[in-house]
Symmetry: C2
Subunit: 337 residues, 2 copies
C-alpha cells in the first residue's frame, strides 16, 4: 500500500523525493503503530485485527491527515497517532458495514463476518470504534475528541439513513448527497480539521481545510459509487453492481431512472426490487448507461466537487504539501476503473 502511495505521488504530484520520503515515513509509522497496538491485544483481537488491517486498504484518511498537517507546517508527531485513530474509525465502519450489507469480500479477501462469524465482526467493529476513542482520550484534546465523536455519530446516521432508504427507488438527490456527506465526507473533513488543529491554524484556515476535506470526500464517494457500475471486479476486489443488487440507489442509478424511459429501466427496477442478479442483463444495463451517457454525467458531478476542493486549497501557500493534496484530488478523480 505504501508503495501505492509512492507510485501515485510520483505520477500525479510534482514533489521532491525528500518530501515523498517524509510522508512515506509517517505512513510507515502509522502502520507500525497499528501493528504494535494489535500485537499487544488478546490473541483473538490480534488475529482478526491483523487480518483486516494487513489486507491493505489505501490508508487514504491517515494520508489526508498527515499531508494536511504538513500544509499547516505542523512540526510534531501526533498526526501519526490521529492517523491511526481515523483509520480505526474507518475500519470499524467497514467491518460493521460488511455485516449490514452481507458483503462476502473486502479488500480481496473474505469479509470478517464470513471468515469468522457475525458475532466476531460485531465485536471487532465495536473494538475498533472504542479503541479509537481510547487512543484519542490518551491525547486528551477535547475539541478533537468532539470532532471524532461527531464523525462517528454522523457516519452512523448516514448508515441508518441508507437502511431507511433501502429498496427505495424514489430517493431524492439531496437525500443521496446527505448520505454521501455523512457516510464518507464527514470523516474526510474531520481528518483535515484535526490536522488544522494540530498545526494551530487560525479558525478561518481550519474551516477552509475542513471544507476541502468535505469536497474531497464527496468527490471520492461519487467516484466510488461509479466504480460499482464500471469497475473490473478483479482490480477493485469487490463485485460490481453490488449497490444495485443491495437495493441502494446511488447517483448512476438515480440518473438512469430519471433519464431513461420507464420501459427501458423495467428490468433494472425488477432486479433492484427483487435483489435478484439473474434478472439483471449486465450488458443491456451497460448499453443503457452508455446510451444516456450516465457515467460521464456522474463523473462531471465528482469533478465539480474536486474543483471546489482545488479552489479551497488556493487559500493555502503553494508548496509541496499543497501540490500533494492537489495530486490526491486528481488521484481520487482518476481512480482506475
Amino acid at each position: 500500500m505504501i508503495t501505492q502511495f509512492r507510485s501515485w505521488a510520483e505520477t500525479l504530484a510534482d514533489c521532491s523525493p525528500a518530501f515523498i520520503e517524509y510522508i512515506e515515513q509517517k505512513l510507515n509509522r502509522v502502520e507500525r503503530q497499528i501493528e504494535g497496538l494489535l500485537l499487544r491485544e488478546s490473541p483473538f483481537i490480534r488475529e482478526a485485527g491483523l487480518y483486516i488491517m494487513k489486507a491493505g486498504g489505501k490508508r487514504l484518511r491517515p494520508l489526508l491527515l498527515i499531508v494536511s498537517a504538513r500544509l499547516g507546517d505542523y512540526p510534531g508527531d501526533d498526526d501519526v497517532l490521529f492517523g491511526v485513530v481515523v483509520e480505526y474509525i474507518h475500519t470499524a465502519t467497514l467491518v460493521h458495514d460488511d455485516i449490514i450489507d452481507n458483503a462476502q469480500e473486502r479488500r480481496g479477501q473474505l469479509s470478517v463476518h464470513r471468515r469468522w462469524s457475525g458475532p466476531v465482526a460485531v465485536l471487532l467493529g465495536d473494538y475498533f470504534y472504542t479503541k479509537a476513542m481510547a487512543l484519542a482520550l490518551d491525547y486528551g484534546h477535547l475539541k478533537i475528541l468532539r470532532i471524532l465523536s461527531n464523525i462517528t455519530l454522523q457516519t452512523l446516521q448516514g448508515e441508518i439513513a441508507e437502511q431507511v432508504q433501502d429498496g427505495n427507488l424514489w430517493i431524492t438527490e439531496p437525500q443521496i448527497m446527505d448520505i454521501i456527506y455523512r457516510k464518507t465526507a464527514c470523516l474526510f473533513s474531520g481528518c483535515c480539521q484535526i490536522a488544522a488543529i494540530l498545526a494551530g491554524l487560525p479558525p478561518g484556515l481550519e474551516a477552509s481545510l475542513a471544507e476541502f476535506g468535505r469536497y474531497l470526500g464527496i468527490a471520492f464517494q461519487i467516484v466510488d459509487d461509479m466504480l460499482d457500475y464500471s469497475a473490473d471486479p478483479h482490480r477493485l476486489g469487490k463485485p460490481v453492481l453490488h449497490d444495485l443488487l443491495e437495493g441502494k440507489v446511488t447517483l448512476p442509478l438515480y440518473y438512469l431512472l430519471r433519464q431513461a424511459a420507464p420501459d427501458e429501466t423495467a428490468p433494472v427496477r425488477a432486479a433492484f426490487q427483487r435483489r435478484d442478479p439473474s434478472l439483471l442483463d449486465t450488458q443491456a444495463l451497460q448499453r443503457l448507461m452508455d446510451k444516456y451517457r450516465i457515467l460521464p454525467q456522474v463523473q462531471r458531478v465528482a469533478e465539480t466537487y474536486a474543483r471546489q476542493a482545488l479552489t479551497v486549497l488556493q487559500s493555502f501557500p503553494r508548496g509541496e504539501a499543497r501540490q500533494l493534496l492537489e495530486g490526491l484530488i486528481r488521484f481520487i478523480i482518476r481512480r482506475p476503473s
Copy 2:
C-alpha cells in the same frame, strides 16, 4: 420500573419517604432525559431506541450512580446525565449481545435483531455506544471520559473472552471470574467511581466506592448466572438454561462438572456440546444440581462478594444513602427466582 425501585427500597432499606422521593425523582429525570434525547433523533433511531428503552430494565446502573453520588453528599445534577450515559452503554452492550447470542427475547419482548433485523441491531448498538460518549464529551471531564472508555473496552474484552471460551467445558474458575468482572462488574465499579468524582471525594474514598461497585457487580452477575438455572421464565422474561445451551460455562455448571461423577454429567455435556435442548432432561439436571447442592454453593460465593461490598461501605458515614446501598446489596442477592 420506577415503581419497582420504590417497592424494594421500602422493603429492603429503612429510608425516609423524603429520601426515596429524592432518588425516585432523579431516576424519573434519567427517564425523561433518555426519552427527550430519543425524541430528537431521526424516526428510525427514535422508534427502535424507544422500543428498547421503554421495555423496562431495572435502571440499576443509573440508580447505583445516583445513590453513590448522594453517599458523597453530591449536591449537583450531573449524576442524572451520567446515569443516562451508563444506561446507554449498558443498552448498547445488550443490543449487540443479543445479536451475538442470537437471543430471541429481551425484557419480555422480541430482541431488536428479531423485531427488526441484524443490521438494525448493529447500528442501534453503535448508536448507543457513540451517543454515550458524545453526551459525556459535552460535559468534558477527561478523567470520567477515560473511565467510560475503559469500561467499554473492558466490557468488549469480556464479551470477546466469552466468545473465545465458547463451548469450552474446561474453562477455569479464574477465567469465569475474569469474564464476570469485565462484562458486568467493571461498569458497576465505574458508576460508583464517576459518582465519587462528581462528589469530589478524596482518592481513598473514590477507590473504596469503585471497589464497592466491583464487588456488587460480581455478586450481581453470579446471581444472574444462577437465575439461568433456577428462574421461572415468565418472571425473568428470558428462557432458562440459555447459557448452557449457548455453550457458556458459568459457575453453576462449572461446579456441577467438577463435583458430579462423569457418567452423571454425560447427558448435560452432550446437550452443551451439541447445543441441543432435546438432549437435555431438565428435571434430571435439576435433581443432579440438588444432589450436589450446586445452587446453594453458588449463592454462597455471591454472598461472599456481597459481604465484601458491605464491608467496604463501612468506610462511609452512616446515613440514608449508605442504607439504600446496603439495601441494594440485599436486593441483588435475593432477586426472585
